[in-house]
């Protein structure tokens, strides 16, 4: 809450850093090989997804284990519109974002009445159910055999963006996601979310319209994930229900946000960049043991920094307490 009371002397600093990082993103592109460019593109996509989860799981405190539903839905809306109706990508992108946001509001209304882990698993059920529906609507979506987005020749509604194009697309989308979360975090709406996170009854008593605020947050998080899914589907060209609705994507969002620092603007960015780069590096250098090492790192990180890196550093700077055992002392039995 300090940001409300603190003087706004250095309020321009985060914005300046943000613009610099964006510029650095464009500068970095000129220095990368094709493979590296693809890796960074994936990192940027995960920044968007992590921020999407951060809105509902980090700020509002409703841990959605079904966030991939929006990603998959966004991807399939784009895929179907471009494949069946030959709509240009940009129209499909807008439709994907809006439909994902609408879906978020629609399922948010009943689901967000559930508390804690009941909400989490109901969201998981919705994601799995959505995948099954998409798999079985064979005539529209191509079913389990997947669909191919037309990308080349006269057949293509929008020409393939190519590696450079998708890099710029996801860089701008990541900037949009970070900007959105920053604005939300500083707004009245964001304070409502944090109040709900801390004590929903108290928030309601203070006049926060909890249902409306929660549904809006869920819908906004759906918009971000839906846009990411739309771009991903166009980039991947061939999309299948399994990979588009992979539970692992949801879990990665959660891991990135929690390890980085949930309920902060910076944490999910650091989590996404750190984890995705590490994962790619392990995949390239230790192919066989890649998943095993990643699992070990997650276990260690969760035990030592359950509050996330950003929270740990902030706490350290404020109190001078840097002991790694603090969180274990706090959470052990």
């Amino acid at each position: 809450m300090t940001s409300v009371l603190a003087s706004s002397r250095r309020a321009w600093l985060p914005w300046a850093v943000g613009v610099l990082v964006l510029a650095a993103g464009f500068g970095l592109q000129t220095q990368l090989y094709t493979d590296q460019e693809r890796v960074v593109t994936a990192v940027l996509m995960y920044v968007v997804l992590a921020q999407s989860w951060n809105l509902i799981g980090g700020y509002t405190g409703y841990a959605s284990f079904g966030q991939v539903a929006f990603f998959g839905l966004g991807g399939y809306v784009t895929g179907v519109l471009m494949w069946q109706l030959r709509l240009p990508f940009w129209w499909a992108l807008a439709a994907s974002g809006l439909l994902a946001a609408g879906f978020g509001a629609l399922i948010g209304l009943p689901l967000l009445r559930l508390k804690g882990h009941y909400f989490a698993i109901a969201a998981l059920g919705v994601a799995e159910g959505t995948r099954e529906v998409i798999t079985n609507l064979t005539s529209v979506t191509g079913g389990g055999g997947g669909l191919t987005v037309p990308t080349f020749g006269a057949d293509a509604p929008t020409a393939y963006l190519g590696n450079d194009g998708f890099y710029v697309f996801f860089l701008l989308l990541a900037a949009f996601a970070v900007l959105t979360v920053t604005l939300v975090a500083r707004s009245r709406f964001g304070f409502g979310l944090r109040a709900i996170n801390q004590d929903e009854d108290a928030a309601a008593a203070m006049g926060v319209p909890t249902t409306r605020v929660k549904v809006a947050a869920f819908s906004l998080s759906g918009l971000l994930a839906g846009l990411a899914g739309s771009g991903y589907a166009f980039q991947a060209v061939n999309i299948y229900p399994g990979p588009m609705f992979d539970v692992q994507i949801t879990v990665l969002m959660v891991v990135m946000v929690v390890i980085g620092g949930s309920g902060t603007v910076l944490g999910p960015v650091l989590g996404a960049v750190g984890l995705q780069l590490l994962s790619e590096w392990l995949r390239a250098n230790y192919t066989t043991y890649h998943t095993f090492i990643l699992g070990t790192i997650i276990v260690i990180a969760v035990v030592l920094f359950p509050g996330g890196l950003v929270t740990y550093v902030r706490g350290g700077l404020r109190t001078g307490q840097w002991s790694l055992l603090t969180s274990i002392r706090r959470y052990r039995l």
Binding site: L114, G116, A120, N136, G143, V254, V258, H290, Y331
Partner: protein, 295 residues
């Protein structure tokens, strides 16, 4: 008609095995508020133990399961006592991430040790069938796994309500602070619960391997059905797992029989979400963990 009876029989038999797959998951979640993502990996590990014993020592999987159970129990106890207890008071998604990390490690370790090939535990009798009604066959292997599944689940229910250990588990689940004041060693109880969860998963794995094929890639799906069953039935309650398992088994069997494509899966998740919305405490459950105070 015989088609319907056959599907029903198949669903019930499958439900018994489902119950055993999920009962440990439900107990761990209900008592400790730990969502064990590694449940499916435990089941697959149990299947490999049964497979190894059958292949290299010639031990029948229904006996091998009795070896797999204590091994898995020891693994589960050690994991809880020395690792998960370190963060067990953190918000639920922290422990969820921890078990997700364990799941990645276990699944990949099994991939390296046993390859990703699909295997089955061969027996001479599992594929035989007995005609119980005209045109309705009772597959022997599935009948035996059903018996084991229901038997072990009921045994667990008996242990939970009739033995000192079981009562201390229930007490710890209801109010850990009060239980500790009564002299219950909560760290040990938590170890026991996770050990029991792993042991039942291991037995379920050996059963799963005798009636079908398995590979490390199945772990995620097995965790997912444990989720559905535990929530359908009600957390922390062995009878809940039994009901949830039967409901899921029947939905899948009937849906598979009468719906085109794989709509039965969509149906299963639809029922899951509706039950959650109308009766979040599950079909048989009380709200076990949700209602208690943290001390």
């Amino acid at each position: 008609m015989s088609q319907f009876l056959q599907a029903t029989l198949y669903g019930v038999l499958q439900g018994g095995l489902f119950a055993l797959i999920a009962v440990g998951f439900s107990l761990v979640w209900g008592v400790m508020n730990v969502i064990n993502i590694a449940q499916g990996a435990f089941v697959v590990l149990g299947a490999y133990l049964g497979w190894g014993l059958a292949t290299y020592a010639g031990i029948d999987p229904f006996l091998g399961m009795l070896v797999a159970a204590p091994v898995m129990f020891a693994l589960g106890y050690a994991l809880q006592r020395f690792l998960i207890n370190l963060v067990v008071n953190a918000p639920v998604f922290i422990t969820l991430l921890l078990t997700f990390g364990l799941d990645l490690m276990l699944t990949q370790a099994m991939n390296i040790a046993f390859t990703a090939n699909y295997r089955a535990i061969p027996t001479s009798y599992a594929s035989r069938g007995v005609e119980v009604l005209p045109d309705v066959f009772l597959p022997l292997g599935r009948f035996l796994t059903f018996g084991v599944g229901v038997g072990v689940t009921l045994l667990l229910a008996w242990v939970m309500s009739r033995t000192r250990t079981g009562l201390s588990i229930s007490a710890t689940g209801m109010d850990r602070g009060a239980a500790r004041l009564m002299g219950i060693n909560a760290r040990h109880v938590y170890g026991l619960v996770f050990g029991l969860g792993a042991a039942t998963a291991g037995m379920a794995g050996a059963m799963y391997g005798t009636v079908g094929t398995f590979s490390p890639a199945d772990a995620a799906h097995l965790t997912l059905i444990s989720f559905v069953i535990a929530v359908l039935g009600g957390l922390g309650n062995p009878y809940g797992a039994l009901i949830g398992g039967l409901v899921l088994g029947l939905i899948e069997a009937w849906g598979g029989q009468y719906l085109p494509g794989s709509w039965e899966n969509a149906l299963a998740f639809g029922v899951f979400v509706v039950v959650l919305l109308l009766r979040p405490q599950g079909l048989v459950g009380r709200s076990y963990y949700a209602a208690r105070l943290e001390v």
